[in-house]
Amino acid sequence: MNFFGFGQTADIDIVLNDAETRKKAEHNSEDGKKDKYFLFYDGETVSGKVNVTLKYPGKRLEHNGIKVEFVGQIELYYDRGNHHEFVSLVKDLARPGELTQSQTFDFEFAHVEKPYESYTGQNVKLRYFLKVTIGRRLSDITKELDIVVHTLSTYPDINSSIKMEVGIEDCLHIEFEYNKSKYHLKDVIVGKIYFLLVRIKIRHMEIDIIRRETTGTGPSVYNENDTIAKYEIMDGAPVRGESIPIRLFLAGYELTPTMKDVNKKFSVRYFLNLVLIDEEDRRYFKQQEIILWRKGDIVKKSMSHQAIMAAQRFEGSSNPERSHSQSAENDKS
């Protein structure tokens, strides 16, 4: 290895075996930009090829070993030096020696446990990535490939509604109700606010969705509150006996599933904040936690006849499914 001439170096490229068929998911980076990454679920195998391409053909690359790792780690922004790895798998690709030409290595991490969802937040990041390292005496050559993991749940067995009476004695009494306590990310919050007593002059009412990211433990707990959404549900002054409906579609907002005490390092929780504002800008609010969960996509290969007809209204004439549903039915849905 020369110090003053051109030492040999290499480019590393990680290619997944199912790169053509695997779905990608959007994920925010730390600076707010969105990017697409390969999407994995818990238990799926991560396999692929590592292409090591020598930069200067003909020259040898001496190395202390080539390995590939699959890592799942939690990074607290205020403590960047300490990464907490909760998944760490290694495969050796080559023993210490030298590469005389560019080479490709196969790897497979079978049925990898991915217990938590990928998360990039205000003070903490949880990420999964593949990392290839070519060990060398002075400086290793490394390459990382980030992936995104989603955790899926199914409909909860018990999903009671939230119903509560709140108020200020003799001034304002309301009863609020939300139809569920656990919502999936594309769900709709259906609820109502019933006014029992109104002795203040209300100007309008809104519902906010707040994300609370909790990092740290014991005395050094830090809560970061973010208002994800503000949705006005009433404009004007209500009187006793009035019922205001709530219908809030969650799919329009950037939400993650509720994450409680992940690896004992952080939590991400969601709250509905009901806010009433009076004529003098005084705010009366009541926060209520909701549990968010991620539902798996259901892809229907066969659709009901009516759904096909409905689709055809928008799709136009070239529809291969039409041949299956050719019946004398009129388009009267």
Binding site: M164, E165, V166, G167, I168, E169, D170, C171, L172, H173, E177, N179, K186, D187, V188, V190, G191, K192, Y194, L196, L197, V198, R199, I200, K201, A237, V239, R240, G241, E242, S243, P245, R247, L276, D278, E279, E280, D281, R282, R283, Y284, F285, K286, D297, I298, V299, K300, K301, M303, A307, A311, E315, N319, P320, E321
Partner: protein, 185 residues
């Protein structure tokens, strides 16, 4: 062709139909305070301005539904200080004290300049309406004394006012309190 079909029940939750007397009757939050009719009282250097403070309300916490008293600027100051000391409210600001206007050798009428009195009247009206509508201020004896008793007894015993028991609420058992914050614009 593959489609994702999401069916969510978005029908409204059931609710009790509203009583028509509630729907079309007078609202229970009527509260209006007028500050008007400035009058200059006294002679020479001991003159001061008083204002009529008239409150009309249907809130049960106020003993009188229609009251009328005369107050001067320092009475408003007294009320502001009492509330700042005894309640947890962030009290809205009063119009300025105008100390400069009390100095001699001004070209104008000083404290008794018409435009100034009008400006002050507006500020006092905004102040008293803002504070009288605050649920926590309504519990303070000083506010009730200010609005509904002919003279302010500065040696009074500060305290809280309890609601009379003839409530027009429906049967409410235990409930959870709201948080209130007052945002100063």
């Amino acid at each position: 062709m593959r489609f994702k079909i999401e069916l969510c029940d978005t029908r409204r939750l059931n609710s009790k139909p509203q009583d028509l007397t509630d729907a079309y009757g007078p609202p229970s939050n009527f509260l209006e305070i007028d500050v008007y009719d400035p009058q200059i009282v006294g002679v020479g250097r001991n003159r001061y301005t008083t204002y009529e403070v008239r409150m009309r309300t249907n809130l049960p916490i106020f003993k009188l539904k229609d009251s009328c008293v005369r107050r001067r600027y320092s009475d408003f100051e007294w009320l502001k200080n009492e509330l700042e000391r005894d309640s947890k409210i962030v009290v809205p600001p009063l119009p300025g004290k105008a100390l400069k206007r009390q100095l001699p050798f001004r070209g104008d009428e000083g404290l008794f300049e018409e435009a100034f009195i009008e400006e002050r009247r507006v500020g006092l009206e905004q102040f008293i309406n803002r504070i009288a509508g605050h649920p926590l201020a309504q519990n303070e004896r000083c506010l009730h004394m200010f609005l509904q008793e002919e003279t302010i007894d500065r040696n009074y015993i500060p305290g809280k006012v309890r609601q009379k028991d003839n409530r027009d609420t429906c049967a409410c058992s235990m409930y959870i309190y709201f948080y209130i914050t007052l945002i100063q614009s």
